[in-house]
Amino acid sequence: MNDSIVMAVLISAIFYGTPLLYAALGEVLAERSGVLNLGVEGMMLMGAVVGSVISSRLDAPGPIVLLVAFLAAMVAGALTALLHAFATITLRVNQTVSGLTLTILAGGAGLSSYLANVWQLKDPATHQFQRLNIGGLKDLPIVGPLLFDQTLLTYLSWVAVAVCSWYLFKTRTGLNLRSVGESPSTADAMGLNVVRTRYIHTMIGGAMAGIGGICFSLSIVPTWVDGMTAGRGWIALALVIFGFWRPLWVMVGAYLFGALSSLSLILQARGFAVPPELLDSLPYIMTVVVLVVVSAGWSSKTLSAPDALGTAFEREAR
């Protein structure tokens, strides 16, 4: 039962969907405040490289090292996002340009690889996030491998989805955040601090992308390789649109995209020739379809992007 093709797809959907989920959740928060950050790939790599060096060089018991690596990856991602926040919120640079620059600056041919070179990262990370066989239940049919044989990162991502969902839709600050993203001038008139809200959420977004990064460097492929995220930051960006800027739907999308990325390989291993390019492009195709649906106005307005997404806020302008 647990060896069937459906289970194989579901298991890899969760394992390979988790980094996408973190990065996309973070981007949801940033975009909900009106800041589009295309630097996800760069922020993930910064988190990945910092997490990797701490795992390998910090001399402490395993759980403490992993905790420090986790926090440091968040800080690395948040600081990278701070560059974008400063450029777009304070200096009001075009968000697309700044975000792209961030990915180039921090990404595969940039700062993250430079740091890895300086730190001489080449052996597997000493401490890694292992699968936890919770309560010895991993051999239960179906639910065992899905619910009780994940890494701590995956369990935390489920908590993160619940917290983000609750925060966005059930709290006063979440409402404030959404109003900043929809109409910053109204929010400003109501007495909300637009600049602070945007700074905070852009940086939280970066911190979560940093966690997405250590899903790669401390779990999926625990040996540092330059540019190891290989474009998954872009998938996370598509995922935000695909999930209509909603944490729960983003989770569904992350697992769907995770499943699709493994599906062609799983089918190949079973002797079905499916062009991997076709399945790899499906997330983007589905995102385009969602974009069309959203912008064609067939769906309710609440499903579309925050109104002020991508625009700078100037108090004196109208």
């Binding site: 009001r92 699968r131 492929v221 040996t223 390989l265 991997p276």
Partner: protein, 377 residues
């Protein structure tokens, strides 16, 4: 210009500058001089010393392909001492920039240039036509190019793959061996076939399942491919690319692993079998020395186990003494010429006979191999 417009403008400019810088970094990269030129001898006659340069596709600390080439460069520097000045350019992307990198190396006075990736071929040939006094050597390049100062080099890694196939089949309980392939190009197909022939020499029922990830670089995909092979019943995993990602998948299930092109035995002690590896140093030394002596001859060099160009990484502790002995015996037969790994009869994986009994696959046909042998799926 008000303050904001100015700030915006200057930041955009800064952004563009940063972008430019970073793109450039990949192309220009670091340069190192391994041996200092003899004092006052910078304009010395060619007979005294030679400048040699290497163009790498990856970083020198990649623990695989590029690291092995750089070990070869260091070997040359060590053996020739003050008679050579070596330079390298790392992280050079396969694209338009490589032509500029090569031209710069020529301008710097390098008289022999090695490029270590298939995609560097066109730029190498273009420069070779322009600079007849410089030798251009293209690693993994296509044979029989007429340019007189241009040669290629690679090796019969299939021999080591055959031996690795024996190790894999002996370690497999189910007889199902998984292979993670980057692209099914002739070089990779040749390696898969050799591995399968080796595996089936010791277990005629062995099967090699191949998953092609269609990427030279995507460690996550490599791991996903290995995962999918494992869930499909493969109990030994073999690398076609050199990232340790498939090893991670194997390690998670405690299954034996055959790597490629670097010795990972220290990092994966419990699952390590072996890996086909390269020893570029002696080839590089011979080329640079003969260029210095003026005895350089154009060739398409194809190394093998016999001349030490190809080798197997040290066996892991899970390889049994019997298997080691068997592999050593086969290796000796390959080296003395009594074992031809592609000797017929060979069928393709659809059952059609490709090589008749008593025949073999010619050297040129090996370079263009496009069919998978029986047992590969």
């Amino acid at each position: 210009m008000d303050r904001r417009t100015f700030l915006l403008g200057s930041l955009s400019a800064a952004a563009l500058a940063t972008t430019g810088c970073v793109t450039n970094k990949a192309a220009t990269t670091s340069t190192s001089t391994a041996a200092a030129p003899a004092a006052g001898a910078s304009s010395a006659a060619a007979a005294d010393s030679i400048k040699a340069a290497w163009v790498y596709v990856g970083p020198i600390n990649d623990g695989g392909w590029t690291a092995s080439h750089d070990a070869g460069r260091k070997y040359v520097a060590e053996k020739m001492g003050s008679k050579v000045i070596t330079t390298y350019k790392e992280n050079v992307p396969e694209g338009a920039q490589v032509a500029q990198v090569i031209e710069d190396l020529v301008k710097d006075g390098n008289k022999i240039i090695f490029a270590t990736s298939f995609g560097f071929g066109d730029a190498m040939k273009a420069s070779a036509k322009k600079h007849a006094d410089v030798k251009f050597l293209h690693g993994t390049g296509a044979w029989h190019d007429p340019i007189p100062n241009f040669g290629t080099y690679y090796g019969a890694t299939e021999e080591a793959k055959y031996l690795a196939g024996i190790a894999a089949a002996k370690a497999s309980k189910s007889g199902n061996i998984g292979f993670v392939a980057p692209f099914l190009i002739p070089e990779v197909i040749r390696h898969i076939n050799a591995l399968a022939i080796g595996a089936r020499a010791v277990n005629p029922a062995a099967k090699v399942k191949v998953v092609e990830i269609k990427s030279w670089f995507d460690p996550t995909k490599e791991r996903q491919a290995a995962d999918s092979l494992i869930t499909q019943g493969c109990d030994v995993i073999c690398n076609g690319g050199d990232s340790p990602a498939p090893g991670e998948a194997a390690k998670a299930k405690n299954l034996p692993w055959v790597g490629y092109d670097s010795d990972q035995s220290a990092n994966f002690p419990d699952i390590w079998l072996t890996a086909p590896i390269y020893n570029w140093g002696p080839y590089y030394l011979k080329q640079v020395q003969s260029a210095l002596d003026g005895t350089w001859k154009k060739e398409d060099y194809y190394g093998n186990l016999k001349d030490g160009f190809n080798a197997l990484a040290p066996f892991g502790k899970i390889v049994t003494a019997d298997t080691k002995a068997l592999i050593e015996e086969k290796k000796a037969k390959i080296i003395d010429g009594s074992l031809d790994i592609f000797a017929g009869p060979l069928k393709d994986n659809k059952g059609a006979e490709k090589v008749a009994s008593g025949a073999t696959v010619s050297a040129d046909d090996r370079q263009a191999m496009s069919w998978l042998v029986e047992g590969v799926s």
